[in-house]
Each structure stands twice: as structure tokens, then as C-alpha cells.
Amino acid sequence: MNKKIFIDPLIDNNPISRQVLGICSALAVTVKLEQALVMTLALTFVVTMSNVIISMLRNYIPSSIRIIVQLTVISTLVTLIDKALAAYMYDLSKSLSVFIALIVTNCIVMGRADGFAMQNNIKDSFLDGLGNGLGYGMMLILVAFFRELFGFGTVFDYRIFPETFNNGLMILAPGAFIILGLIIWVQRSITSFVEE
């Protein structure tokens, strides 16, 4: 049972490719692998911690203000990450800061807090958060891999194709739409899942 909570959001119930949540940031921060990786770590931290905290408080949170409570917890965590990045990884924080702040509005985080952590124990909520964070991250890294490779000709800034190789389509937004669309298509034709 526990294992399923963690494994499920990785592939079968992936928040991006299956539920199509968190698309906005998935399109925005997938130009380079390094950004995608930091975003993955940041979101995984936020969704896991917020799940744990909400789950700890679940029996005390008055239900009429539960959304406000969830938002307070999430935005506190996001601000912590933002400050930590500015102190320890300044260059990355300069290019990611606006997206990090937007984790607050990422529907995966709120969705898991309200949809899962409010009803489940701490251990399960932790696993659910971790699974969803990593499921989101996997997609991000997959998309970023193709965009960086075909856009700049590099992987983690390590050159694969010659310097002259440069594809603006992949670097700009359409590249993300195309790659993400292809991934969703491939996954759905394998699992033969159809939206009801």
C-alpha cells in the first residue's frame, strides 16, 4: 500500500503527463537541465514538507479556513527556498527566482495538501509528496534534456553537438509544448489511457 502511494505518481498517475497539472512551470523552466533540476528539488522539498506539516495539523485545522492555512504553510516554505537560493546559489536564483515564487500557485502542491494530506497520516503524506515531487521532476528533466540537447547542443552545459548547432524553436516556448505533447502522447498510447 505504502509503496503504491510513492510509485503511483511517478508514472501511472504522473501529475504532469497524466493529470496535466503544473504545466506552466514545466514549460518555463525546462530550457536547461540545471534549472530543471533545481526546480525539481525545490518543488519536491515544498510539496513533501507541506504535506507533512498539513498532515501533522490535519486534526486541528478548522475546515472553514483550511485553504488559508495550507497557503500559509506553502508560501512560508517557498520563501525559505527562495532566500536559501539567493544566499547559496546566487546565479541560479537570479534566473529562477520568479519561478520559485510561483511554486506557491503550483496546483500540484495545493492539490496534494488539500486532496491527500488532509485525510492521511504523516508517513503516507510524506511518501505522497515525495512521489508527486519526483514525478513532476522526472517530466521536467525529460523535457529539459531534449530542449537543451536540440536547442543548445549541450547536456548539463557539456557540449554534444558543435557550437554552430543552435535551434531557437526548442529554446522558446513552442519547443516545450511540442516535446511535452509528444511525451504525453507516447505515454498515453502505451497505457491506452483516454480522458473521460
Partner: protein, 234 residues
């Protein structure tokens, strides 16, 4: 009913306490990073590659290559005024920065004898945000461009944010801000429409016309403020 208020009050109190402690604890490190980033950008404008340097090397290279200069609006040099004495005022509509000490306006600048460059801070509006950066020119003819960088902006990644990319920055190098003894500054044309042979024209950014135009406007305005100094020293 009462519980609700006590709950949310204590939660917000706890989270603000946590955040302020965290923020205060990291303040020094963040400020240090900001200063270091400015130094890095200054070094890049005069053509020093900082990509492989660690923070100590950047600070050392800055000390070796760059000195602060303070001018008044007539172009006279004041060696007794440091940049950290300035009171900085930003014009919210144009993004122009003005610098005062005891109510008198001064102009900050940097000089590099090792790289033969004169560097001035530049700032102005892009599409969404203010752009802050540095612009370096030759310190003999005060016309040939040595480099340009932007260390802070909030433009769209892939579009306006291209101002920080090498292709855009390097297109300024070697251009002339003077033509026919007047400061013509640098024209940022529409993407792909600049006349390559023209000594005062560079290509703008495709899809970011307003940011490109912003760069053109801020450059001309800020360069004209230093015109007296250029004339006295040419």
C-alpha cells in the same frame, strides 16, 4: 469559532518568526553575493572572463583592475568622495538613477588603467522591469565601446532577458558612441535590420522590441550625463 482565529494567528506568527530569523541569518551572505555579482559584471564589461573565477579571484581581479571614480555633473573628479556615500534616488517612470551627497548631484564611474576603459553604471526601463548594468568605453577617445552588461532585470526569459546573452552584449563591442563629434550613442535597431557597417548600430532582440528600445533610450540618456567629462578628457 474562537479557535479558528487563535489557530490562524499562531500559525502566521510562527511562520513570520521563522522567515524573519531565516532572512536575517542569510542577509550578510545575500548582500555579499549581490556585491560580488556587480563586481563580476564590471569585470565582464572590460573584457575579463570571470566564468572560471571563484569569489576570491573575482575580488582580487577587481582590486587589480578597477578603481572607483566620482565626478560632478560638470565632469570634475572628486577623489575624496566614495561611492558608498551616495544617496541613490530612482526615477520610477524612467528607471534613471541619480546620486547625491549632501544634496549635490554626483556621477559614479569606474576606471581601469590595465584595460584602458572607463565604465559607467546604466539603468532604465525595459518592458516589465528596470534594467541595471554597466557600460564601458575606451579611456583615450571616450567613444569605442568596450562592453555592456546587465546585472539585474525582470525581463522575459528567452525574449527581453536576451540582453544578458553573449550574442547581444558582444554586438556592442567596437562600436562608436561618437559620430561627427556628437554623442550619437548606440542605436538598437529592429532584429536583423541593423546596418552591420554602421559604427553606431546594433541588432535588437527579436520578439522584444520594447526591451531593445529601452536599452537604446537608457544608453543615450546616461551617456549624455557624462558628456562634460568626456569632452574635458578627450
Amino acid at each position: 469559532m474562537k479557535n479558528k482565529y487563535i489557530f490562524i494567528l499562531s500559525l502566521t506568527f510562527l511562520s513570520s518568526l521563522l522567515l524573519s530569523l531565516f532572512s536575517e541569518g542569510l542577509k550578510e551572505k545575500t548582500l555579499f553575493n549581490k556585491e560580488l555579482d556587480k563586481k563580476k559584471n564590471l569585470l565582464q564589461t572590460i573584457g575579463i572572463d570571470t566564468k572560471v573565477m571563484n569569489s576570491e579571484e573575482i575580488i582580487k581581479s577587481f582590486k587589480d583592475n578597477i578603481i572607483e571614480v566620482t565626478l560632478d555633473t560638470d565632469g570634475n573628479v572628486y577623489s575624496n568622495i566614495n561611492h558608498n556615500q551616495f544617496e541613490v534616488i530612482e526615477d520610477n517612470t524612467t528607471g534613471e538613477l541619480t546620486y547625491y551627497v549632501n544634496g549635490i548631484e554626483y556621477l559614479p564611474a569606474f576606471s581601469s588603467t590595465t584595460m584602458n576603459a572607463f565604465i559607467l553604471p546604466i539603468s532604465g526601463k525595459g518592458l516589465w522591469s528596470s534594467l541595471y548594468g554597466y557600460f564601458a568605453i575606451d579611456n583615450k577617445n571616450y567613444s569605442t565601446v568596450k562592453g555592456i552588461t546587465f546585472y539585474q532585470h525582470g525581463e522575459t526569459p528567452g525574449l527581453g532577458a536576451e540582453i544578458t546573452k553573449d550574442w547581444f552584449k558582444s554586438s556592442f563591442i567596437g562600436k562608436e558612441i561618437y559620430s561627427d563629434n556628437n554623442i550619437k550613442s548606440i542605436l538598437v535597431s529592429k532584429a536583423g535590420q541593423a546596418d552591420e557597417n554602421n559604427s553606431y548600430e546594433v541588432n535588437g532582440i527579436s520578439g522584444a522590441t520594447i526591451t531593445s528600445r529601452g536599452v537604446e533610450v537608457l544608453l543615450k540618456r546616461d551617456l549624455l550625463r557624462y558628456e562634460n567629462y568626456f569632452r574635458n578628457n578627450k
